[in-house]
Symmetry: D2
Subunit: 338 residues, 4 copies
């Protein structure tokens, strides 16, 4: 950690800063420039972290040198450690996995029908919401356990493992009964009670980036889960909030290569929520693959204009079939496969 002092800092203040550093069992190194004094804090990062140096008299700014996350960066070899969703491995290097399904589970027939369609198009994991985080209390909130049951029916019918969202710490036992992977949604990315709870689950967790979460915030939220003992975390880029009104969100593909460079965790991209306009989802899906995504999550509905939520951004099954073909081409161009 580097402490930059104010131009008006006194020698007594510098002495006090140094004394404080040494009082914490750390070492200091003072650097006197032409117009500013800088003090390095040396020693164990775990000791340095969280010390209130910024509040000391004479201090202008504190610059951390070490990144605040560590478990997300640990590696056991050259390749990222794959995460397994019911046997489907994500992040194993070459394979790109397609996760697909409707926004909400509406009834058994709907989810089985869509699961069958996306499976035959090439999807390997089924998504579907039984608990829906909705901005308005008057919007459809999901079918709850009935929805989970229908998802299990669709899994029985197709063999596709299931990813579905958890919204409440109390729901973990129920979710573990039905799901193969837990989704923590954007609005709960910093719901730390929930992160700790899913960190104690045996199921893998897909963590979606918050609307205005920095990449560092996302990695630290993943760190919460890993720190509780759950090693299976997927990071999902799904669009951030910017000033641009034409799209629902701004899918931030810059995050893909950066997350892959900064962590060992597989990266999923959700172009459906990222751009939010059906017409532009295919191009963003292809771009995500080119940027290095390990998996794509794409919403599909057989009747978007009768969907109970987000119909305007769901692909129709035939659109998904077409997209998968194009994804295969781009994947091959970068030495990967679907």
């Amino acid at each position: 950690m580097i402490i930059i002092t104010q131009p008006s800092v006194t020698d007594a203040q510098i002495d006090e800063i140094v004394a404080r550093i040494e009082g914490f069992g750390l070492r200091s190194q003072v650097m006197r420039g032409d117009s500013r004094v800088v003090i390095g804090v040396l020693g164990s990062e775990d000791l340095i972290r969280e010390k209130p140096f910024a509040a000391l008299p004479g201090v202008e700014a504190v610059v951390p040198v070490i990144k605040p996350y560590k478990l997300v960066t640990q590696t056991n070899g050259d390749l990222p450690q794959p995460v397994s969703i019911g046997g489907v491995k994500i992040g194993s290097g070459q394979k790109i996995v397609l996760i697909s399904g409707p926004c909400s589970v509406e009834d058994k027939e709907q989810i089985v029908k869509i699961a069958t369609a996306v499976k035959s198009a090439g999807a390997r994991v089924l998504r579907g919401g039984a608990y829906k985080p909705r901005t308005s209390p008057y919007s459809f909130q999901g079918l709850g356990e009935d929805g989970l049951r229908y998802l299990a029916d669709a899994r029985a019918a197709t063999g596709l493992p299931i990813i579905t969202e958890i919204m409440d710490t109390r729901d973990l036992p129920l979710l573990e009964k039905y799901a193969d992977c837990l989704q923590v949604g954007s609005r709960n990315m910093q719901n730390f009670a929930l992160l700790k709870e899913v960190g104690r689950s045996r199921l893998p967790v897909m963590l979606k980036r918050g609307f205005s979460a920095t990449i560092s915030d996302l990695l630290l939220s993943a760190e919460y889960i890993l720190n509780e003992g759950n090693p299976q975390v997927l990071l999902c880029e799904r669009g951030i909030r910017t000033f641009e009104p034409m799209t629902r969100n701004t899918l931030d593909l810059n995050a893909v290569p950066i997350l892959k460079a900064k962590s060992r965790l597989p990266v999923v991209v959700d172009p459906t929520h990222g751009v939010g306009l059906r017409e532009f989802i295919p191009q963003m899906a292809l771009a995500a693959v080119a940027a290095g995504a390990d998996a794509l999550m794409i919403e599909v509905h057989h009747q978007p204009d009768r969907a109970w939520s987000d119909g305007e951004q769901a692909l129709r099954p035939e659109g998904f079939v077409d997209l998968v073909g194009r994804v295969r081409q781009v994947a091959a161009a970068i030495g990967r496969e679907v």
Copy 2:
């Protein structure tokens, strides 16, 4: 609701849109302009809401006419309905309430000392975190129930009612045992399970605006709480995330008059987190009062450079005394009082 059709819309598509509207038991009105057809959807707003018109062929955009929130706007008279925190009324029209205390409860002595100091300076509600939402799992996470006990000790010593944060639905019974007001933090503003849970509490709730929550999002989250039957909700502006790196957040005072115009709920401003730099908190506090805030929440610590969290943004007790004097002047200038 207004449906704007695409330039290429066909008569058959228009007929289908109209048929769909009427199939929902709603009425339609078609308006043919020089270059575009617009279709009005008329009828009960509860029926119109959530219908997937945007996914219909030929539709370019859907423009809602009615705001999606309703309980937040209901009034029972000319003045906003005050919320009572242990007998201290916020939003009663003239009075501006000061809420103060440390970021985290550290031990009994600390919280009693600070509570005594802020009370004598003019604060009427005590804040202090026992459960702390921290970006990193390695940061201090709060003392938990011990912290709640120390808060209760400070209340016993000073008479100040307590506001403290709830982070997990399972903690409500415990929080209700100690607290006078529940705080839902920015990171949980769209934790809908938590909103529903506190909506069933007998305690008032202060709901902090999310980092990137629009004003409409904040009102809809308040609506969740009201919709569960809890009528006592305070809205808190505490800074939004922008591109500006010099401040911790960008305190958005525009939200103050807008929230007061769009809802009946009292508005609290938290300049401490909003700007995040001790030096600029007083000016932002005065500006918040001038903008119409009903209460201010200001962090105070007797030893900021030894605080366990956020020391760099805590005022010292003497700084708080000075600020309260200036707040009184500005309040008087706009016909209010502290």
Copy 3:
């Protein structure tokens, strides 16, 4: 245009709004919903535009129906009209053009050397700044006309046409003497005097999106140039400003398919400034191609650690060679070529 009235609107106010609409030679259509009155304004869009309906008593909001740009959307056939930079066509459908060169022209030897390297790697247009928009007045401001002369030397040596930035309306004659294409930089995207001036040039113009310009703003700035009679405009996505601190900007690839859908103009992507970190430029370049870009602009320097500006984001020539090979693969996968 749709006028949404306030809940409290009176019949007299509605009559006044209707009278005002008709006084402008337009037609009106009143739609009375259960809780709100909406008034459609029909007639020539050129008459409707800019009328201050929003300021009329009783009006809550005004919703435009027609997009405010028109020349950018005009087509003369199925394919976008290609723009020609010294004979190199951009936007002709299949070909993806590589534009490359250093951030700043530093001397004759440097620019000739880099031009030679990027040409042999596959670049078809040379970029280089002689007039540099720098945040600080103390940063290197470019060599001015000397820089233009060195660019011309590099063109003579390699045959590559030149794109370079114009910053002042008074410089147009000088720029026209040396350049094959004018660049209007992000900071000048809404410098309307400059847009009008380059709109009267015989040279094509590459217009870079402003830091916080919406897609609609960008299209309207292009409209300024087209409206002055210059039909050759390229749109360039180069990153927007968001809350994310890890990247220099957030390259917004969502803009690529949207710009191509909303306009007939070719789209260039500049991943160098978009992400601003050398390590991640290749992935973003590939993603841009997959998203549909017609050209890429990539900064290359043979000695980045001795560059006079932006060295940390320049590729070395060997890195550029590698990237071009990968771009060719992805281009082929989507049916295009370099």
Copy 4:
């Protein structure tokens, strides 16, 4: 400047970095922590600035210690140096100056009428646009020199000095003939050719913050003007672009105390464009005063619903009279006066 090296940095790379630093005539100091090496660069800041250390092998990040602006911070005494607009001093410490007038000059009668009204209400400087930066080329672009002449007529009639916008370097002689203060608009805040040109004018310059300009960017743009020899610069906060759709912009009052702390330049706040909704302008104007603004700029029109631009955000003269009274009260509460 502090250079943070990569975890994988080699001794040879550190030696090369040190050699490079010393080759520039600077000194270095190496600090070896437990897990990272940090190198301080010491010496004249003018030498350090702009060196491409970030592009050197083994470097992870470069942290500047000294702020990049210097003229904006120079003081000649305790109080900020006031700027004089035709004899009206802004920034002289106690006085808060009101600048008012319409968005656009429409004709002689309009501007004289409004000037007379705002003067009698307490305004001391007249604003009005003759050259208008408009997002669309089809919007009213201002009356040009005719508008300047009408402004001069209004000055003759009322004695109010004039501030008006300059959009093109070529217009300076014309503007200097009529105006008392030049306005550089938000869209031109980084039009460096224009900044240099007005830096050579004898007239004071009001520099409006760009939509997405950081506070540091704004100060550096002011530095451009000061660096050309013009000592009279006013900084104007007028709203930034955020994700919030309910307001035209987000007026960032945090910038007010920060700009006053970081620079010696007077600070003007423009709540009209900042919030963009007539109903909320008074509260934001009062908040700006409480936050420490030296002047307010407020748009007034006698017939907002017939204004040629921005009618929905103009106060009526009677609204302005009311606001001035309230501004006087808040100013008095903080020891200032109008």
